[in-house]
C-alpha cells in the first residue's frame, strides 16, 4: 500500500523535473483518487521535484527556460491538489511579500525565489519589479505578512534595500517581519550591514532559510 504512495510521489517529482505538465496533472489526480494526503503530495512530490530542478540549475544542467517549465508543471499539480488540503493545513500558511527594489527591472531571479517560496508553503504576494520602498511596507501591513523578500541585480539599486529596512523600523514593524535579501551583487556581509535577517545565493536554499527564519521568529513571539 505505502509502496504505491511512494511510487506516486516519486512519479510526481519526476514529472516536474521532466517538465511534463500533463503527466503531473494525471499523477496528481491519481494521488487524490487513491485517497492520499494532498499536503504530502505537494511537499514530498511537487516541491521535491522543484527542489531537484533547482539543483540541476545550480549544476548548469538546467537553464532558466527548463526551470520555468518545471515550475509550470509544479503549479499545474498544485491546482489539482490544493482544493483537497485539509483546513488547518491551509490556515498555517505564512504570508510573504516579494519584489525587485526601485530602479531595477531584472526579475527572473525574483520569480524563481517566489516559486521556491510557494513550494515551501508560503502564500506569496508579488509586487513585481521597480518597486518603491513604501509599497513593500504598505503591502506587508495590509496582509500581515511575516516575510519581505527584496531582490536586485544591480549595485546601483542595492541601497534601496536598506531604505526598506529603515522604513520598517520607523513604522515600528521591524520586529514583526523577517527581511530577506538576494540577487547577484548581494552578499551575507551586505545583508548583515543593512540589518536584514537573511540572505542566500540561490532560490531553493533561500526558500528553506525563509521558512526557518519565520518559524524562529514566530516561536520567539509566542
Amino acid at each position: 500500500m505505502s509502496n504505491v504512495k511512494e511510487k506516486l510521489l516519486k512519479d510526481l517529482a519526476e514529472s516536474v523535473v521532466d517538465m511534463e505538465e500533463d503527466d503531473t496533472i494525471e499523477i496528481a489526480n491519481d494521488f487524490i483518487e487513491s485517497g492520499y494526503d494532498a499536503y504530502e503530495g505537494i511537499s514530498n512530490g511537487l516541491a521535491a521535484g522543484m527542489d531537484e530542478a533547482g539543483k540541476l540549475y545550480e549544476e548548469e544542467e538546467y537553464y532558466i527556460p527548463e526551470l520555468l517549465m518545471c515550475s509550470d508543471a509544479m503549479y499545474a499539480g498544485m491546482d489539482v491538489l490544493k482544493p483537497h488540503l485539509k483546513y488547518d493545513e491551509t490556515e498555517e500558511k505564512y504570508k510573504a511579500v516579494v519584489g525587485v527594489v526601485e530602479g531595477d527591472t531584472h526579475d527572473i531571479g525574483k520569480n524563481l525565489f517566489k516559486i521556491m517560496l510557494e513550494t515551501t508553503g508560503f502564500e506569496v504576494y508579488d509586487l513585481g519589479r521597480d518597486v518603491p520602498p513604501g509599497e513593500f511596507i504598505n503591502k506587508a501591513k495590509e496582509l500581515g505578512a511575516k516575510l519581505i523578500g527584496l531582490s536586485t541585480l544591480m549595485t546601483t539599486t542595492m541601497d534601496n534595500m536598506e531604505i526598506v529596512v529603515n522604513l520598517l523600523k520607523e513604522e515600528g514593524m521591524r520586529d514583526d517581519v523577517v527581511v530577506m535579501v538576494g540577487g547577484g551583487p548581494i552578499s551575507q556581509s551586505f545583508a548583515d550591514k543593512i540589518g536584514a535577517d537573511g540572505y542566500a545565493p540561490e532560490a531553493s536554499r533561500a526558500a528553506r532559510l525563509a521558512k526557518d527564519l519565520v518559524r524562529g521568529k514566530m516561536n520567539v513571539a509566542v
Partner: protein, 363 residues
Amino acid sequence: MSLFKDEMTPMERAVAFSKGEDVDRIQCNPNLSNGIARVLGCKISEFNHSARTLADAVIATHRRFGGDGAKVFTDLFIIAEAMGAKMKYPEDETVDLLEPAIKDISEISKLEPIDPYKDARLPIHIEAMKYVQDEIGEEVPCTALVVGPFTSAFFLIGVETMTKMMIKDPESVHRLCEISLENCIRFADATIKQGIGISIAEPMSSCTVVSPKHFREFSKPYLKRFVDFIKSKGSGTSIHICGKTDGIWEDVVDISVGALSIDNIASLKNCTETVGDRIKIMGNVDPSSIMYAGTKEDVRKATLQCVKDGYKSPKGYGIMSGCGLPVETPIENIDAMLDTAREIGWPITDEKLEELMSFNRYE
C-alpha cells in the same frame, strides 16, 4: 581631469591598428550607457524627443574622455517599441519595457515591419547618428548599438513567455526571431546609411539565461544572417553578450563578427586563450564593484590586470568595461580607466605592466 595626453585620435589609432602599425596606446572603450546624460548635464528623458541632445551627449562624452568609440545608445528597447511594445519613460532614468508588443503568439500577425524613419524613437536615433557622424566621425569610429534578433524577440512577446516557448513551442520562437531579424536588418540598414558602424548587444543569448544548445538553435542562425547583412554593406561590427558566455565562444567565432566583448563574470584570460587567435576580444573591468563603487586606484589596478590578461591576444585586445556603466559611475573613475591605458603607452611588455602594478598612482 586626465593626467596624460593622447598623441593620436581614436580614428588614427584604429586605422594604424588595423594595418599592424605602431600606435600611441592600447584601445580603450569605457562603454557608458545613459551616463552620457551626466557628462552633458541633461536629463535622460531628453533623449526621447531630441536627436540634437542625444548627439550632443555622445559628442560631449567623446570630447571628455577620448575613448576609442562613440556610441549612439539609449536603451535596449527601441526596435521592440517601434513594433508596438509599450515603454515606461522615467524623467531621469533608463527607459524600461512596460508591455511587450504581443501577449501571445496567436497575435503574431499584429507585428508589422518597421519604418526606421518614422516609427517611435527610431527617427530620433537616426538623426542623432547623422549629427554624430558629421561632427566627430573623422576623429573617432562611431557606432549605433543595435539589439540582436534573439534578444529583441524577447521584448516583442515578453521575457517569460519567450523563455517557455523555447521548450513548448520551438516553431513559434523561430517565426518570431525571423520577424525580429527582418526588423533588425531594416534598422541596421538605415544606420549604415548614416555612415556609422554597428555594435550588437545580445544579453539574452547569455549562458546565464539560456543553454548553449538553445543559443545554437534559436539565436545563432539569426545572428549569423544579421552579421552577414551588415558585412554585405561593407560595415564592421562587434558584439557584446552579458553574463556567462564560455559555452558559446566558439559559436561567436563561427558568426565571424569583428570583435567580442565579454562580461566581467567571464574569464578574460580563458577567453583570449581559447578564441583569441580567431577574434578580437574586449573586456572586462567590473562596471559595478570597480567602475561605480571602486576608487581610482581600484580602476587603475583592474585595468592593468585586464591588459595583462588580454594584450597578447593574437587578433587584438581592447580595454572595455564588462557591461554598460551604471549611470552614476564617477567621472574620475572613467578618466582613470583611460589614463591607465595612456600610462601603459606603447609598446606593452610584461615587465612594464609588473612595474606599473607595483605602485599606486592615486591616493
